[in-house]
Amino acid sequence: MHPVLPFVTAALLFGLGVAGVLRRRHAILLLMAVELMLNAVNLLLITADVTVRATLAAATPYAGQVLALFVVVLAAAEVGVGLAIVLRLYRLRATVAVDDVPLDRVEAGR
């Protein structure tokens, strides 16, 4: 198994995530791009865990995978709170574009 393959995939996914966060105006698409970046990090952690553990006997067992597990949990929490904020914004201002939020109130039709 050549670790460079998943490593390169992770790097490219991270780059895509960065581009998405900078480019998207729609709040939910922004969150999706953030998910891409988190996933890239997870892939990196797991690949490093599997390959480094194979070569370094002294490393803490499964540290990378446990860390990835925590990242998944944090991502779930982040999406929960993030979407709650986005939906609240939509209800109050009838828009989800992150770079121009109207300051006066516009009720979205319910």
Partner: protein
């Protein structure tokens, strides 16, 4: 290249292609569906990398819950079925910065690892990970549970209708 390498390369290609569609498509829900594909391919890579527990966690939490939540929110904010014109900021900054970050990191990693082959270590079964979490990582685990509770309460408070605005 062994069969594991071919699998990794194929799944990686799928993941990157789907990831590109996520950040480039002009149809909102399609972006979410491509995210499903991308996350699924990454879960497949976890399987090949012998991290089976993480692969199933990825499917259960990401595909089964996080993406569904995102799609749900897309539908609640009245996304059009067809293409939408105003999803992106104009300009070349974002692709340039993103491309530089991605390719730069990739170059660094390629330079660090070259074409070395590694035999896979012991698989990350639920049993092994459970032992690791509850032997070496108990305190972070508890802290994460508190954080989840805080997120839960926060989400409910933010999204509750009425109240002071």
């Amino acid at each position: 290249m062994t069969s594991a390498d071919w699998l990794l390369a194929a799944l990686g290609t799928v993941a990157v292609a789907a990831g590109h569609r996520v950040v480039a498509t002009d149809r909102l829900v399609r972006a979410g569906l491509h995210l499903v594909l991308c996350l699924g391919a990454v879960a497949g890579m976890y399987l090949v990398l012998t991290a089976e527990f993480l692969a199933w966690v990825q499917v259960l939490i990401y595909v089964g819950a996080v993406v569904v939540l995102l799609l749900f929110a897309v539908m609640l904010t009245r996304a059009p079925v067809g293409a939408a014109a105003d999803l992106d900021r104009p300009g070349w900054t974002a692709p340039l910065v993103g491309g530089a970050a991605g390719l730069g990191l990739a170059a660094l990693l390629v330079d660090a690892y070259r074409w070395t082959a590694v035999a896979p270590a012991a698989p990350g079964t639920p049993e092994a990970l459970g032992a690791a979490v509850f032997r070496s990582w108990v305190l972070p685990f508890e802290v994460v549970s508190v954080l989840l509770l805080a997120a839960l309460v926060g989400a409910i408070v933010v999204s509750r209708p009425g109240g002071r605005r």
